[in-house]
Amino acid sequence: MSGAEAAPATVTAARSAPVAAEPGPLREIWFRLRARPSAVVGLVIVLALVGMAVFADWIAPYDPSATNWGAVRTAPSLAHPFGTDEVGRDLLSRIIHGARASLAAGLTSVALAVTLGLPLGLLAGYAGGVIDGAIMRLTDALLAIPFLILAIALAAFLGPSLTNAMVAIGLSATSIFVRLSRAQVQAITAEEFIEAARAVGNPPWRIALRHILPNIVPAILVQATLTIAAAIIAEASLSFLGLGQQPPAPSWGSMLNVAKNFLDQAPWMAIWPGVSIFLAVLSFNLLGDGLRDALDPRQRN
């Protein structure tokens, strides 16, 4: 990250990104993150989940969709450590494969929300005036419809599927990033180095991309991590309601939906999917809180 090469060499004050321009920003973040045990725990669980999702085919002891009518709703045992479900599928294998739906939904929807929200927020914060007003009213309007309710409504009209659930969650979360990036841009635009960059004749697009954007990345990254946690809950909720991942493909939310009907005969069906959702959400929350402390000390208290 060296915006300094592109900018006129004389203008050291206008060098982009005081944070990112320091040598080895990733190392710096790692050092600060490492000092927080809870963040490290979060990171380890996140990595474990990602590994589980990527290598699900190799780790899972059974085919997650293979039914076995000879072993319907069997309690946890050596052969099936988490037990089996109502059609004899191995729950451990379904949990492992279910990580794919949860992580895919969390990452994809937040990527969508950032892709849409960040440019809009940059534009609103930097352009101001009528453009700002229009974008903010639209954001307010979207925020007026509660996250999950909007996602349910969108999923209802688009039709139930994992892809549509991801689109619905992403669109519902977009306004968070518009607001955040706009507020960040406004705060940074007031700083002297932006004034300096403008004084030496940088065009607005260059100031926005070279000098403002790198400075708001930390805050966006923190918010994105925390929003992944919310998106994973949202996907599980939609799947629980039957509006996300469709059977027989495994998803933690839809597993709970089925488990709810067998609580007295097969309580183990309800325990493990919930524990998985909880751990996934907790780990992204821990990592997000840790990143906030490491990247954005102003917001700490």
């Binding site: 009213r137 639209l138 307010d140 309007a141 979207l142 007026a144 419809i145 509660p146 996250f147 999950l148 309710i149 909007l150 349910i152 409504a153 969108l154 999923a155 209802a156 009209f157 688009l158 039709g159 946690a229 809950i233 599980a236 909720s237 629980f240 309601l241 039957g242 509006l243 709970l256 488990a259 709810k260 609580l263 007295d264 309580p267 309800a270 325990i271 999917p273 919930g274 959702i277 909880f278 959400v281 907790l282 929350n285 821990l286 809180d289 208290n301």
Partner: protein
Amino acid sequence: MLSFLARRIAIAVPTLVLASMIIFALQQLLPGDTATALSGEERDPEVIAFIREKYHLDRPLPVRYLLWAKGVLQGDLGESIRLQKPVIDLVAEKLPVTLQLACLAMVIALVIGVPMGIVSAVRQGTTADYVANGIALWGLSIPNFWLGIMMILFFSVYLGWLPASGYVPPSESLIDNLKAMIMPAFVLGNAIAAVMMRHTRAAMLQVLQSDYVRTARAKGVSPLGVILRHCLRNAAVPIITLGALEFGQLLSGAVLTEQIFSVPGFGKLMVDAVFNRDYATVQGVVICTATTYIVLNLMADVAYFLVNPKLRRS
């Protein structure tokens, strides 16, 4: 004061209009012919013709929106094709149930969240603070529908103390009503409690550092007196206004909670409508939610303005 109110309303109105446009536009996402899609499963030609007429589907989109918005303003949220009832009646019927649930949940959230926030702010950096923060993180990370299922498993299936479902109106038996509502209310209040704890903690930390608190301490006001009389009173303003903004979270949560405990409220109405392809009801529920949210926001802003003399003078 008046100019402030006028400015707030000048922002709220276009927000509401835009929200209604978004909700109206949801219809356009339906695949295929809108009237056929809106008619639900049965594809009755008579119903399709009725819908084409009712929603003016032969007119251009902006005209349709205006006609629809006019109806909404007059309290016509459309017709539930499946239940053969005006949507507004359905909403009016289900809303009190959700309101009771939401109020109980908010009480639970306040009772748990505020004291925990106070303790963790006053004892910042101690074990108590870490424990309180840990509990808040737990509350934020646990999916509330899973918590509901686990509570049913423990209190209904294992202990047999509370009914797993079966709503009783308070007019019939208040005790049975509360018995059926306590678990859903706790599940719903749990996540809000975590948010309230964090708000309270942040607000209290800010107030604790202020000069007048130091003065009060120097004057010899008892530690508890400082916390309750001087700090909490000032911290209450952001706590209350931020709490009002949790309403959306409360409604989102109610959708799932009502589904698990079969509470016949607003959220269950919406989910049932989704599965019955009863799109008018879905739209009706969403527009009621958005309107309530915007109005509550406006009220929170005004309340914040009224209780904060510093803002009033400027």
